[in-house]
Symmetry: none
Subunit: 423 residues, 2 copies
Amino acid sequence: VAVGDELLLGTTVDTNGAWLGMELAELGVPVLARHTVGDRVEEIARGIREGLERADLVVVTGGLGPTHDDVTREAAAGLLEAPLRLDPELESRLRGRWRSRGLPFPETNLRQAMVPSGAELLANPLGTAPGLLLSAGGGRIVILLPGIPREMRGIWNGAVVPLLRERWGGRLSRLHYRVLHTTGIPESRLAELVEPLFGMEVPRGVEVAFLPRITGVDLRLSAAEGREEGASRLLDRAEGALREVAGRWLFQAASGDLVDAVAQALKRAGASLVTAESCTGGLVAKRLTDRPGSSSWYCGGIVAYDNRVKVRELGVPEALIREHGAVSREVAEAMVRGAAERFQVEAAVSVTGVAGPGGGSPEKPVGTVWYAAQVGDTVRSRVETFPGDRVDVRERSAQAVLALLLRTLEGGEVPTPPTGGAW
Amino acid sequence: VAVGDELLLGTTVDTNGAWLGMELAELGVPVLARHTVGDRVEEIARGIREGLERADLVVVTGGLGPTHDDVTREAAAGLLEAPLRLDPELESRLRGRWRSRGLPFPETNLRQAMVPSGAELLANPLGTAPGLLLSAGGGRIVILLPGIPREMRGIWNGAVVPLLRERWGGRLSRLHYRVLHTTGIPESRLAELVEPLFGMEVPRGVEVAFLPRITGVDLRLSAAEGREEGASRLLDRAEGALREVAGRWLFQAASGDLVDAVAQALKRAGASLVTAESCTGGLVAKRLTDRPGSSSWYCGGIVAYDNRVKVRELGVPEALIREHGAVSREVAEAMVRGAAERFQVEAAVSVTGVAGPGGGSPEKPVGTVWYAAQVGDTVRSRVETFPGDRVDVRERSAQAVLALLLRTLEGGEVPTPPTGGAW
């Protein structure tokens, strides 16, 4: 239960829920649902009550501060019939804190020393409001935590996890998971390849989730410990099977960012990279230089947005542009060769396309992009018709040319672009 | 109702809920609660049902994709007793989309053409799954939207808002508001200038909210209709007063993006722009070319990440780099002059700095950035020490050099950078 008008109004994005979700997943505690409610006693009580009807544990974040709209204590106390009482030790600690700063104690802050009767205090190393643990009967637990992420995490790690391990040790499992990153294949086509393996090559006990992003689809594999076969063995088998059918679209990067895979490959090859961009207009360079340390494998590039820049700065023959158009295999390859030669480096990429919304034609509709990668003497080029708006086309183009560079650096097979479709 | 195992597991942070919260607040529709549920029919149905018990509108995001775990359609159809049927028009549109790209249609995608009977389709300009609107009796509405934020927003803005205005026009509030965009001044300093005006020059009845972003602070002014003085008159007075004290940091762009103000100024001046970037590594070029039509005022640029590129491509004398270092007024100005001359254009910008995390020194700590703008014969340069991490420093640098270019184009005063301080 996440408490706060600011969460419903949208002026604050709730990150506590996701953080707790990951923590609970690691403990093997499945999260049934998350309720986000406003700063009102009856709404908070409703959230807790609905949780207790179905779950053994309800974690509430927010509403423990000193101001009049912090009413989580009141809501829990009312619901669990555990009237609030002033905790003398908390009170003296609070008063001491203000005294030590030479400040008068604001009496409104006494709210933070009010505790539902029977509640256990969970130490807050980073703030004034402690966490609170209440019993709700039938072994069920309600935990109240502050909404400030740092304080919430401090209490969780320092007090809640040890307490859950102590009480629920036997029931807690460890969910293991790993993520495989793909790029260049639409979600639906990946599903066609992968779903027939479920329950067979991808063994039962392994859950596979598809996480689509504009730059590619991640596959999240998860398995719970405690079966006859260990979770990591199950995951190994599943991963092997998935690599078998989708290996050509997979790349390896702990961050999930293809740029990191490219950086590794460039470093292994001892190569330095240059970029020549038309429709992506600096986006490829920007993504590369987002990474700290990119200067060791990226030297710079040309944004050749205007055709005159392609001619003057990249040595693309004017006749080539006249004959084939700026969006063509010939120009993409001339750009990549011109860039590699001009900068005297081993690796280069180029992109030229119609990002839209204008500029399309029947033969070259919006989304048509030619891109090329050069490594040593090898030049590979591809064309795709990317779906989506200008932002999409540019993002997809940048990702596609980096994938082409990666395969070219690895000397591996370059999958045929699955042009279009529901990416 | 936000749908997705990844939201409960915490591998994805839900940003849709906050975005919708703000949109609904603008329409004057209070959000009672938000439920986050997993990819299971009964959980999604429970979320919708609990919403319908209390609210007139239930918005569901997520679970409309083509894979087996996308079951929002099934949940809504079951709950509202509106059996799914294949929509022939959607089907042919889907099949056509694949055919036009010469690909076989994956039958699993037919899921996306299944529609609860009686549902209205809400056009999705950016993806394959349309939004769906269902009646739940008693004037109550259920709206199903994809979870991908861009698609969700596209449908919301394009189809849902007009529809709600049409049906609920009288019940929606008419809050008037306008947004003033500042850049180059920290929130706390802006507050010091602006807050003393509240209730005086900024009349009562006008609310002013500070919306800080990395590239600047927006001021949102709002006033409700129906007072003795019209809302827009009140807003005019408030805006005038704010311009008086903060005009030097304001810029005008309906989008809120400084690039649009720069584009207008370049078009007015009939000037074409070139970029020369070191630490921003293509980010300035990328931001410029994000805008459709940028080719009419932006011709291209050099990403001079490596010093050798500064020398060879921008004509920066090697001796200058040796003597003053690459991060210096001298090099920033040589870069901007070199770029303008080389590309033979009227306007140019350059950036050279220490984005971090490495590369800092006692005299030039991480965050030190020199940047310059040239318009005709006028060259202006500035140095700042930006706070934050690599991403922050790069974003702030790109914004700062565009602001300098804008002031130089306008021939106006260039505010002294408020170097340091709480940005």
